[in-house]
C-alpha cells in the first residue's frame, strides 16, 4: 500500500458532468487551484458519458446520439484547456467536517479534508471549498421482478450505447415515461436498434395537465422544439406504444422473459429479452447527506434535494452544490449553475470582488432561467409514478438485502419510526449500495404506513465511507499517533 498523498487546494470539485466541468474551468480561470475528481475514466458525467471517446474514436456514432450529446465535447475541451488538476477513476469516499475552533473563536480559513481512492491507493486533500457536482440518478422503479437479469434503467442502456457502442439484442421493451426514455427511443430508431414496444406509464391526460404550463415554458422554446421533433420521429418510426400502462410486472425464470401490465382496461403481456425502465431522475444526495447538509422534500418531484442559497452553498459551511444534484433542472441549467457557483466560490475565497462575481454571473443566470423554464412543463407531463408508496407487499424495495415493501409496512406498523431504524430492524439500506437504490422508496412506504409526510420521516443517515474501501485504504490515510 502506497503512503497517502496530501495536497492542499482551494477547491475540490466532485463530478465531471456539465456542472463540474464548467465549475472547475471557471474557478481555475479566476486563479483558484482546482482539483476535479470523477470515478469515470473521462469527463462528461452521465449525460455526456464517453463524449471524448465517441468524438475521437467513433465520430460516426454522433449521428444517432444527437447534437445535444455532441455539445458535451465543447465543455470537455474547455476543461482540458483549463488549469485544472483532473483525476479520473477517482472515487471520493469521505468529506470531513472542518476542525472545530477553540471555544469563542472562529476559524480564519476553514478547510475540509476530502478523501478519495484511485487504483486502490487512498489520498487526502485539504480544500477551502468543496463543490458537489455528482448529479442525478434514475429514480429506482421497484416493480415486481425488477431484480431479474435483463432489467435495467433506460440510462444504463443509453450509457453503454454511448461509451461502448453496444445495444440490447432481441426484444427490447422500454417501460416508463419521461424525456430520457423518449430520447433513448429516438436514438435506438436512428441506430436501427429495433424496439419491440414502448410501455408508456404517463397517466392519461398528461397534455391537458401540462398545457397551462406552456406559457411559462416558452423561454425554453428551443428545448420544446427539440422535444416535439423527437416525438414526431418516434411517431413515424412505427414502434408500438401502449399508453396509460400501470401495474407493471416483470416475469421470468432466472432472467427477464415477459413484461405484463394493465392498459386500456385489460391486462397485457409482452415477451421481452431486455426491459429498460425509466420514471425520471432524482438528485444523487449521497455526498450532500454525508456532510450533514439540510435537505428539503420536493413534493412535485417526490425526492429530496439539498437546500442551497442563490449561489449554491448548502447549509454545510464550505460545501456547495451545482447541477442536478441540487435539484433536477437538466444539463443546460447544470452547465450554468457550475459557472455561477464557481464565481461565488472564487469571490468567497478572495479571488474576485463581489462586483465581478455579480457581473459575470448575470448572463449565466439569464441563460439558466431559459434552460430551466421547461422543467415545470416536463414535471406536469411526466409526473413521478403515483404508486411509489403503494407497490405490492412482495415487491423488493431494498435490492441489496432483499427487503420487501410488506416487511417495511409491517415494522412501521409495529412503531418503527423511520428509515434509520429500519436499518436495524431489517437491514434495509445496509447493503453495498448504501441506500442509493432503496432510500426514497423506504421513506415513502414507511411515511405512508405511519401516516406522516416523507419530509417528517426523513432519509437514511449517510456515513463514511460512501463507497466500499479496503482496510489498506483506510490505513493509508490514518494519521500516525503523535
Amino acid at each position: 500500500m502506497v503512503a497517502f498523498v496530501t495536497a492542499e487546494v482551494d477547491l475540490v470539485v466532485i463530478g465531471a458532468g456539465p456542472a463540474g466541468m464548467t465549475a472547475a474551468a471557471t474557478a481555475a480561470e479566476h486563479g483558484l487551484s482546482v482539483m476535479l475528481l470523477d470515478e469515470q475514466r473521462e469527463p462528461g458525467g452521465q449525460i455526456y458519458r464517453g463524449i471524448e471517446t465517441v468524438r475521437d474514436r467513433r465520430p460516426a456514432d454522433l449521428a444517432f446520439l444527437g447534437p445535444a450529446y455532441a455539445h458535451g465535447a465543447t465543455l470537455a475541451d474547455a476543461l482540458r484547456r483549463a488549469r485544472v488538476d483532473a483525476r479520473f477513476g477517482a472515487t471520493v469516499w469521505h468529506i470531513a467536517d472542518p476542525p472545530k475552533p477553540p471555544r469563542g473563536k472562529r476559524l480564519v480559513d476553514p478547510r475540509r479534508t476530502v478523501v478519495f481512492s484511485r487504483e486502490g491507493d487512498a489520498a487526502k486533500l485539504s480544500a477551502r471549498a468543496v463543490l458537489v457536482a455528482t448529479g442525478a440518478m434514475e429514480r429506482p422503479v421497484p416493480i415486481p421482478g425488477w431484480t431479474l437479469p435483463g432489467v435495467m434503467t433506460v440510462g444504463a442502456a443509453q450509457s453503454v450505447m454511448k461509451a461502448a457502442g453496444i445495444a440490447p439484442e432481441g426484444r427490447l421493451v422500454l417501460a416508463g415515461s419521461g424525456p430520457l426514455l423518449l430520447q433513448f427511443a429516438a436514438q435506438c430508431v436512428a441506430a436501427e436498434v429495433p424496439i419491440a414496444a414502448i410501455v408508456d406509464t404517463a397517466p392519461g391526460g398528461a397534455l391537458a395537465r401540462a398545457v397551462w404550463r406552456l406559457p411559462a415554458a416558452l423561454p425554453g422554446w428551443r428545448t420544446l422544439l427539440k422535444g416535439a421533433a423527437l416525438m414526431r420521429s418516434l411517431a413515424r418510426s412505427g414502434v408500438p406504444v401502449h399508453r396509460g400502462a400501470h401495474d407493471l410486472v416483470v416475469e421470468g425464470e432466472g432472467r427477464v422473459e415477459r413484461l405484463s401490465f394493465s392498459a386500456g382496461g385489460g391486462r397485457h403481456s409482452l415477451d421481452a429479452d431486455v426491459v429498460c425502465l425509466h420514471e425520471g431522475v432524482v438528485p444523487n444526495t449521497q455526498m450532500t447527506r454525508l456532510v450533514g447538509a439540510e435537505h428539503r422534500w420536493v413534493p412535485v418531484q417526490r425526492c429530496f434535494a439539498p437546500t442551497s442559497d442563490d449561489w449554491g452553498e448548502t447549509t454545510a459551511p464550505g460545501v456547495y452544490v451545482a447541477g442536478d444534484g441540487g435539484g433536477i433542472l437538466g444539463a443546460g441549467a447544470a452547465e450554468r449553475s457550475g459557472r455561477i457557483t464557481a464565481l461565488a466560490i472564487a469571490h468567497r475565497l478572495g479571488a474576485i470582488p463581489e462586483a465581478t462575481r455579480d457581473l459575470m454571473a448575470a448572463p449565466e443566470r439569464d441563460a439558466r432561467f431559459a434552460d430551466a423554464a421547461v422543467r415545470p412543463l416536463l414535471d406536469a407531463m411526466y409526473p413521478p409514478p403515483d404508486w411509489l408508496a403503494d407497490m405490492d407487499d412482495d415487491a423488493i424495495v431494498c435490492r441489496c438485502e432483499e427487503v420487501t415493501a410488506g416487511a417495511l409496512r409491517q415494522i412501521a406498523g409495529l412503531g418503527c419510526p423511520g428509515p434509520n431504524q429500519a436499518k436495524a430492524f431489517l437491514r434495509a439500506g445496509m447493503g453495498p449500495c448504501q441506500g442509493r437504490m432503496c432510500g426514497l422508496t423506504v421513506t415513502e412506504v414507511m411515511a405512508k404506513t405511519l401516516g406522516r409526510s416523507p419530509a417528517e420521516v426523513g432519509y437514511y443517515r449517510i456515513r463514511p465511507p460512501t463507497k466500499p474501501v479496503t482496510v489498506g485504504e483506510l490505513a493509508a490515510i490514518a494519521e500516525p499517533a503523535p
Partner: protein, 91 residues
C-alpha cells in the same frame, strides 16, 4: 444480452470470464464486455442467491460486483477492460 452496433474500430482485447475467453474492445468497461460477451449475470444476491445483472451501469446500484484479477467486489461498470483480465462472476 447486448450486441455490438458495428465493428468497434478499436483494438480487440480478450478477457477470461469464468474460464471462458470473451472478446471485447479497448475502451469497454468490464460490465460492457460481460453484457456483450454473454455473461450478463454478475453475481448472486446475498439473501436468496438470486441471479443479478447490471441495473444502472453508472456505479450506484452495485449489482455488477465481480472479482477482477483476484480482487473481489469490484464494480464492473467502473473498471476499464484490459487485455488478459481475469474475471470471475458469482453466477
Amino acid at each position: 444480452m447486448f450486441r455490438r452496433l458495428r465493428d468497434p474500430g478499436r483494438r480487440p482485447i480478450r478477457l477470461l470470464v469464468d474460464g471462458e475467453t470473451v472478446e471485447a474492445a479497448d475502451g469497454d468497461t468490464v460490465a460492457a464486455a460481460l453484457l456483450v460477451g454473454g455473461h450478463a449475470v454478475a453475481r448472486r444476491s446475498a439473501v436468496s442467491a438470486s441471479p443479478r445483472a447490471p441495473y444502472c451501469l453508472m456505479g450506484v446500484c452495485f449489482e455488477c460486483l465481480v472479482e477482477i484479477d483476484g480482487e473481489p467486489s469490484r464494480q464492473a461498470c467502473l473498471v476499464p477492460a484490459r487485455e488478459g483480465m481475469v474475471v470471475r462472476t458469482g453466477r
